[in-house]
Amino acid sequence: MINFNLLFDPLSLFFIFVICLVSVPSAIYSLGYLRGHYRGAKITLAWTLLVIFVLSMLFVVTAENLLFFLISWEIMSLVSYFLVIFDAKQEKSTTAGAVYIVMTHAGTAFLIAAFLLLYRYAHSFDILAIKQACLIMPQQDKNILFFLFLVGFGTKAGIVPLHIWLPMAHPQAPSHISSIMSGVMIKTAIYGMIRFIIFLLGANSSWWGILIIILAVISCLAGIIYALMEQDIKKLLAYSSVENIGVILLGVGLGVLFFSMQMPYLAIFSLIAGLYHLVNHAIFKGLLFLAAGSVYRACGTRNMEKLGGLIKNMPQTAFCFLLGSMAISALPPLNGFVSEWLILQAFFLGAISFSGGVRLFLVISAAMLALAAGLAAACFVKAFGITFLALPRSRSAAEAKEAPLSMRIGMFFLAITAVVFGLFAAPIMRLLAKVAGSAMNMDVSAMKFSLNNFTLCPQAGNNIYLGIPLLAVVIIALSVLSFIGYMIFNRRKPLLNKVWDCGYYKVDARNEYTATAFSKPFRIAFGFFLMPYRKSQKIRESFYHVKTFAYETHTTMVFRKYIYDPGLALIFKAAKNMRRLQPGSIHLYLAYIFITVLLLVVFMSKF
């Protein structure tokens, strides 16, 4: 029934690569990071857990047997839970861990159901055997399976509205773990979707793709808007993971859509885009989490309102974070730009090769993606600007020290990969084409994928180009040239002075724009979704003179308030009512037995 065979097709290999790509630098990073936070036994524990965690992920993406997959999946959840509660000092992290493990376990229940349903058809848990069985499976069962997989993996991937565990859990873990969780672990869910929905079920009804795209768009927008509202830097990153998962799923969903429409070329292309964004997100989100971790280590706080001016004390960390922010806000010539561009192109291709409603749907979703990208840029301007620029807002931030070597190595490695994946997009795409091909089991050797000059649509001659290296060269060359020009004309060196203070006697950190202030316009523009509310309280001496004035503003967590809380309340209410069944009266208990017997005897013939 169960065996431990491993499967090494291109898809699995690709995910192995991604896992290692993020895990190794994070491990290096943790050398320094752990020493900063914990002592002796705790460090060894952290290392063991880390190793088990990475191994379990590797098994998840290579398991050929569904039970084996399930076991490694659960172990992955379990270990990551232990890592989330690793510093269980605060109440917060234990609750976060609890929410996380409960939700992911609930998701797993769906997976179990799906696997067993597959087993019923194949009478085997072997993926390849099941693939054969899926060919003869009736459509409605496939739909059920699709739904089960979508929910099961969606919970792990953190697509809205199943995301609420993600921003709670990821920030609580130690930073190198956060980077692995956000960078890789949630990607295993994407692996699951590709492996089971595309590879096994052979996505054959277009509404699957459309549903995925809708969910993805919602995730993009909701994720990034919440990220904009955050002041906790790691929470911000976690929310942006929700957004990026959405972006990846856009690629996957388009893949499914095209695949079901028998458009192999486009299907492969959009899956490539999705996978490309997947690896990119792994890189820069890992990088960002590591950088945020070293900030946390240096300042002891994750609250951006208490940070600032770190670029002077920790220049290298700042540089890494800047690079990561640029990548994640899709700025050329870095990797994030390439993948988002590809996904937009995929949408465009859909828009010109479909007709009617689907076309409009695709166009609008593309616009939503663009909006998400714009907001992401804003979000990371805020993240980097408030954290690293201007004056430090607290003593701890003013006295921050640069991270030790091991941590910097980890960060710089990822930073470099971010650049590399931007510049050498064309060859990488060719590799990804093979991966996508194996996922959709098609022969891609005939198709030509390169960023330079690939024909997009029947109308010949309308080629689209994207020469990242050239772009990079031009941008850098022009800025260098302009700088040289500046130097030529520059006779005296600029003199330093205070900032313009409108004649106010002292301008200090308290006059700076805060994270909250920065996100104010967005808070108002998206008020319909965020539902901001404020608490303010004045302590007056007299009616005219207000001595102190406390003011705070919050946003409503829509999904929690309107979906989760009522549901939980309902369940608890039901359970409380159930308690009434057992008031402690022995006579009642005896009556239960009596009634049971009576009922059974009366309805005997029914059984």
Partner: protein, 307 residues
């Protein structure tokens, strides 16, 4: 593959011409206001003056603040190189399309916003926050415009725009949407006001407030170039005309005149808009761009319907 001379020529054209349109706008505005107004070449004088002035830099500023102007400048120029202005499909058509152009301009904006935050003055923060807000909302409009145009040309490639020989309904509506977006992008009334320094209203000016001297000059230049990029795209869409595919002089000359005429018409429209409407509150901008977004959607619907 890019042709080096073509690149140089286009760089030269943009650098020389960009400030002119700005000057033109203010000149026309003044004239409509029955004023004499500064000369059309005032921007050039300003730049020259700034270039000769020494600069003061905030002591809180980091290297971000120092390099930002060059990055912004180069990003605008790079974008400029994509525009099919005088050469078929632009000198550097070989390496990016319309979508890429949006992102490239985004690079400049990113650094501009960071630099604004860097000085630690609250104006800067205000400006960068508002700028990112506006541009973020403008993004989907631009994307939709690209799509609805692209759906006719069959590609998001700017070069393909030459495939268009007569304006269609969708392309015109798209152009209008693009125009609204461009107003937001180039920080003009009613979204922003380049002439005021009132913290309640300013966006772009607030960001460059701490800049002075040569760096300010670079910043200004960058915004001029950006403006020229958008305008020339818009005119190219509204009044499409096949580009000369050879360097045969009379043809090119004709085309230059034709181009200048189109630009001046657009500039005139901009000027009229600027004096006839009032700057709106920041949070109304959302509605403004929402309107642009609706237009863009309509245009793409038209494109889908094929009109």
């Amino acid at each position: 593959m890019p042709k080096i001379p073509a690149i140089l020529i286009q760089l030269f054209i943009f650098l020389s011409l960009a400030p002119f349109f700005s000057g033109l706008v203010s000149k026309i505005k003044n004239n409509i206001r029955m004023r004499k107004g500064q000369s059309v070449f005032q921007p050039y004088f300003n730049l020259a003056k700034l270039f000769n002035k020494n600069e003061v830099i905030s002591e809180n500023a980091s290297w971000i603040f120092r390099i930002a102007p060059f990055v912004v400048f180069s990003s605008s120029l790079t974008a400029a190189l994509l525009i099919p202005l005088f050469f078929v499909s632009g000198p550097m058509n070989g390496f990016a399309d319309f979508l890429a152009l949006i992102f490239i301009l985004g690079l400049g904006r990113f650094f501009l916003a960071l630099a604004a935050l860097d000085t630690g003055s609250s104006f800067g923060g205000m400006g960068s926050s508002r700028e990112m807000f506006i541009s973020g909302l403008a993004e989907p409009v631009l994307c939709l415009v690209v799509f609805s145009l692209g759906m006719e040309f069959g590609s998001t490639n700017i070069a393909a725009f030459n495939g268009l020989h007569a304006a269609t309904v969708s392309s015109v509506i798209a152009a209008i949407a693009l125009f609204l977006a461009a107003i937001a992008e180039t920080s003009r009334i009613p979204v922003d006001n380049q002439e005021t320094h009132l913290e309640l209203t300013m966006v772009h000016e607030a960001m460059v407030l701490e800049y002075s001297g040569k760096r300010l000059a670079f910043m200004e230049m960058a915004s001029y170039i950006k403006q020229m990029i958008w305008f020339s795209l818009i005119v190219q869409i509204i009044f499409p005309s096949a580009l000369p595919d050879s360097l045969f002089l009379p043809e090119v000359g004709m085309w230059v005149l034709w181009y200048l005429a189109k630009m001046s018409v657009l500039v005139f429209i901009v000027a009229v808009v600027e004096i006839s409407v009032a700057k709106m509150r920041l949070f109304r901008v959302a509605d403004f761009l929402g309107f642009a977004f609706t237009l863009a959607i309509i245009s793409s619907v038209c494109a889908i319907l094929g009109v």
